[in-house]
C-alpha cells in the first residue's frame, strides 16, 4: 500500500471524511480548533526568517508549497495573507473539496494531485514549505522529510506540525480524541508512527536543514482552543531553514 512517500491505506481514512473538511463541528474539528494557533506560530517563524511585507498581506511575494493540503485549511489563509500557494495532496477527493471551496471564496490557489517527491523531481523550489499534521501519516518519515526539504529554496523555511510519541500523546490523541470525545474516527492515528521532536529534528538535519524553532500546542478545554506551550509532549510544531550557501540567510 506504499506509494513513494504516501501510504494509500492512510489516504482511505481521509477520503471517507473529505466532504467534511470545512465543517468545524465534523470529524476534522481538532484541525479547526488548532488552525488559528498553528498559523499564528507559523507567521511568527515567517516574520523571523523570511521577507515580511507587513500590513494585511504580510506574505506578499512568497512562494509556498503546502504538502498534504487536504481541503485547503492552510492554503486558503496563506493565500489571503498574500502568498502564492501551491497545494498538493495525493488524494483527489480532498483536492475536489479544496478547489470548490477556493472557487467560492474567490481565492486563486494551484491545487495538484501529487506527491512531494514529484514536485522535487521537477526542480520546483519554494520560500516556504509546510506539512501540517502530515508526517504522522507517511510510511517513511526520513524519506518524506528528505523529499520535502529538497523543495526548500536556500534561505527558505520548512514548517511541520505533528504529534509526539509519548504516554501523554497516546492518552490525548488515541484515548481521548478517538475514544472518549469521539472527535476523530477511531483508527485515524497510529501512535507507533508518531515522531518525537528530537527524531524529527534529526531527519531535518540529515536533509540539510537547520531546526530554528519548536513549540508545543496545548488544548484548553474551557475555551475550546489550543495555545502554544513549552511542552512538545503531545502536539508540536517545528521550523527549519535551509541556510543560503556561504552563510546564514
Amino acid at each position: 500500500m506504499t506509494d513513494g512517500t504516501v501510504d494509500r491505506a492512510e489516504l482511505d481514512k481521509f477520503r471517507a471524511m473529505a466532504a467534511r473538511w470545512w465543517d468545524p463541528h465534523g470529524p476534522l474539528r481538532p484541525l479547526h480548533l488548532m488552525n488559528p494557533t498553528r498559523i499564528d506560530w507559523l507567521l511568527g517563524q515567517c516574520r523571523a526568517h523570511l521577507t515580511w511585507a507587513g500590513g494585511r498581506r504580510p506574505l506578499a511575494g512568497l512562494e509556498v508549497l503546502d504538502v498534504g493540503c487536504g481541503g485547503g485549511l492552510l492554503a486558503e489563509p496563506l493565500t489571503r495573507l498574500g502568498a502564492t500557494v501551491t497545494g498538493i495532496d495525493p488524494e483527489p477527493a480532498n483536492l475536489e473539496v479544496a478547489r470548490e471551496h477556493a472557487r467560492v471564496a474567490g481565492l486563486a490557489i494551484g491545487y495538484e494531485a501529487a506527491r512531494v517527491e514529484d514536485i522535487a523531481a521537477r526542480g520546483c523550489r519554494f520560500d516556504l514549505v509546510t506539512a501540517l499534521e502530515v508526517v504522522e501519516h507517511v510510511p517513511d518519515p526520513a524519506a518524506f522529510v528528505r523529499a520535502a526539504a529538497a523543495t526548500v529554496r536556500p534561505g527558505g523555511l520548512f514548517v511541520l506540525s505533528t504529534l509526539s510519541r509519548t504516554l501523554a500523546s497516546w492518552v490525548a490523541a488515541i484515548v481521548a480524541a478517538e475514544y472518549l470525545l469521539g472527535w476523530v474516527p477511531r483508527g485515524t492515528h497510529d501512535w507507533g508512527r508518531f515522531l518525537k521532536p528530537s527524531e524529527l529534528a534529526a531527519h531535518l538535519r540529515a536533509a540539510g536543514l537547520r531546526p530554528v524553532g519548536l513549540t508545543g500546542l496545548a488544548y484548553e478545554p474551557a475555551y475550546e482552543r489550543f495555545t502554544t506551550c513549552r511542552d512538545p509532549g503531545v502536539n508540536y510544531m517545528i521550523a527549519a531553514v535551509r541556510d543560503a550557501v556561504g552563510g546564514s540567510a
Binding site: 468545524p24 507567521l43 486558503e76 489563509p77 489571503r80
Partner: protein, 412 residues
C-alpha cells in the same frame, strides 16, 4: 432571474453592521481602526440620531467601557460631558439597610461615569467619519439576507446589495434584522414605563448615584455635569400614565416626594422621555454568518445601568475575534469564528440577564419575607468586603475574560 439584480454589482465587505446606534457605531469604530473593510446600514439618517430631542437618556459608562472608548480615541470628546460616579447608594425605600459603594474601596478611580447618550453618539460618529474603509448605507433597510458558502448576501430596500463574510446585528432589542433572519426570542414585559429626564438642583450631588427601590418600581438619580442629575424612574404602566399627564411643576413635586430634599430645590430641564421596559432575550447570539451584538442579543432591565456596558463587552469581544481571524488570513464569519464569539459572550450575557431580572423582581413587590431577605442580602453584601469588591468590580466591567482593549495597561 431578476435581470436588474443579476447586473447590479454587490458591494463586497468583510463585515456589515446593521444598526448605527451606540453599539453599531462602537463596533464600526473598533473594527475600522483595525483596517477591516466595513459597511454600516442604518434606517435613519445619522444626523437625525444626534438631534437633542431624539434621546434624552444618559448611560452609565463602567471603567472597562471607558478604557475601550479611550482605545477607540473617542474618550477625549466624551470626557467634558462625563461626570465621574464616586459613590453609589442602593436602598429599599423606607428601610434603614442599604449598600454603599465608595470608589475609594477599589482604588483611586471613579466607579464609572454618567454620560448623555447624545454625547456618546456625537463622539462615535466623529470617530467613524475618519474611517476610509467604511461605506455608509443610510437611510437604508435590509429586506433580504441569503446565506451562501462564501458569505452572506444582503439586499436593501432601494435595490442595492452587499456581500459580506459576517453580519453584526446591532439594532437593539426589537431588531428587525434579527426577525428577518428568523431568530426567535423570549420576552418578558415588566409592565413598567421608564420615565427619563434631567433635573437642575440647588445643591451639588458630589458624584453620588442613588438607587431606591419602591414596590411599584425602582427610581435612580444619576449625577451629571454641574448641578444637574438624570432621573430614571421605572413605574407601573398605569401609574406612569398618571405621572405622564402632570405638568413639569407637579412632576417635580412628585419627584421630590420620592426623593426627599437631598439636592435642595429641583427644576425639570428639557423634555421627559418615556420607554416601555421589556426584557428581550434572543434564542441564540449567532446564526450562520451572523452575530447578534448588545441589546439585539439580550436587552436587559436598565436597573443596574449595565446594558451598554454589556453591549460594549460584546463589541470588544467580536472586534477581537474578527481582528484575530483577519490577521491570520482566516474567514471572519465562519462557524469557527462565531463559535468563539458565542462561547466567549454567552455566559456574561446570561449572568446579567438573570442578575438584573432577579434584582428587579426581588424588589418590585411588597411581600414580607422577601423584604426581609432583601434587607439581609443588602446588609450582608455591605458587611463582606470581598463580596462587595467583587460586585463593584463586576459592575465596573472588570470581571471575567476581558477583551484586550478593556484590560488595564498593567494586566494587558
Amino acid at each position: 432571474m431578476d435581470e436588474k439584480r443579476a447586473v447590479a454589482r454587490p458591494h463586497r465587505v468583510e463585515v456589515a453592521i446593521a444598526g448605527g446606534g451606540l453599539t453599531g457605531l462602537a463596533l464600526a469604530a473598533a473594527l475600522g481602526r483595525a483596517g477591516t473593510c466595513l459597511a454600516l446600514v442604518e434606517q435613519a439618517p445619522l444626523a437625525s440620531l444626534v438631534e437633542p430631542e431624539y434621546d434624552g437618556r444618559v448611560t452609565a459608562v463602567a471603567r472597562g467601557s471607558q478604557r475601550f472608548l479611550a482605545s477607540l480615541g473617542a474618550w477625549p470628546a466624551i470626557a467634558p460631558e462625563a461626570e465621574p460616579i464616586l459613590e453609589i447608594v442602593v436602598r429599599e425605600a423606607g428601610s434603614p439597610v442599604g449598600v454603599h459603594y465608595d470608589h475609594r474601596e477599589v482604588g483611586n478611580e471613579p466607579l464609572g461615569w454618567i454620560v448623555p447618550n447624545r454625547t456618546l453618539r456625537l463622539a462615535l460618529q466623529t470617530t467613524i467619519a475618519d474611517l476610509t474603509d467604511l461605506d455608509l448605507f443610510t437611510p437604508a433597510r435590509i429586506v433580504a439576507a441569503e446565506t451562501g458558502t462564501g458569505g452572506l448576501r444582503l439586499e436593501l430596500a432601494d435595490g442595492r446589495a452587499i456581500e459580506t463574510a459576517l453580519l453584526a446585528v446591532c439594532e437593539g432589542r426589537l431588531s428587525p434584522t434579527r426577525e428577518l433572519l428568523g431568530i426567535g426570542d423570549r420576552r418578558f414585559d415588566y409592565r413598567q414605563l421608564a420615565i427619563v429626564c434631567t433635573l437642575r438642583h440647588e445643591r451639588p450631588h458630589r458624584g453620588r448615584a442613588v438607587e431606591r427601590f419602591f414596590p411599584d418600581g425602582p427610581f435612580a438619580i444619576l449625577p451629571m455635569r454641574g448641578r444637574r442629575s438624570s432621573i430614571v424612574w421605572a413605574l407601573e404602566a398605569e401609574k406612569a400614565a398618571a405621572v405622564r399627564a402632570l405638568d413639569d411643576r407637579a412632576f417635580a413635586a412628585e419627584v421630590e416626594e420620592r426623593f426627599g430634599d437631598l439636592l435642595g430645590g429641583i427644576e425639570i430641564e428639557g423634555p421627559r422621555f418615556y420607554f416601555p421596559l421589556v426584557l428581550v432575550e434572543s434564542e441564540r447570539i449567532t446564526a450562520p454568518r451572523v452575530a447578534l451584538v448588545g441589546d439585539a442579543a439580550r436587552g436587559i432591565h436598565p436597573i443596574a445601568g449595565q446594558g451598554w456596558n454589556l453591549a460594549l463587552r460584546d463589541v470588544a469581544a467580536l472586534a477581537e475575534v474578527v481582528e484575530e481571524r483577519l490577521r491570520l488570513g482566516l474567514d471572519p464569519g465562519d462557524a469557527s469564528a462565531l463559535d468563539r464569539y458565542a462561547a466567549w459572550r454567552s455566559f456574561d450575557g446570561l449572568a446579567l440577564v438573570s442578575i438584573c431580572h432577579g434584582i428587579e423582581r426581588l424588589f418590585s413587590n411588597d411581600v414580607g419575607p422577601l423584604k426581609l431577605l432583601r434587607n439581609l442580602g443588602l446588609g450582608l453584601v455591605e458587611r463582606l468586603p470581598p463580596a462587595k469588591r467583587f460586585f463593584m468590580r463586576h459592575a465596573m466591567g472588570l470581571v471575567g475574560e476581558l477583551p484586550r482593549s478593556m484590560r488595564s495597561a498593567r494586566s494587558a
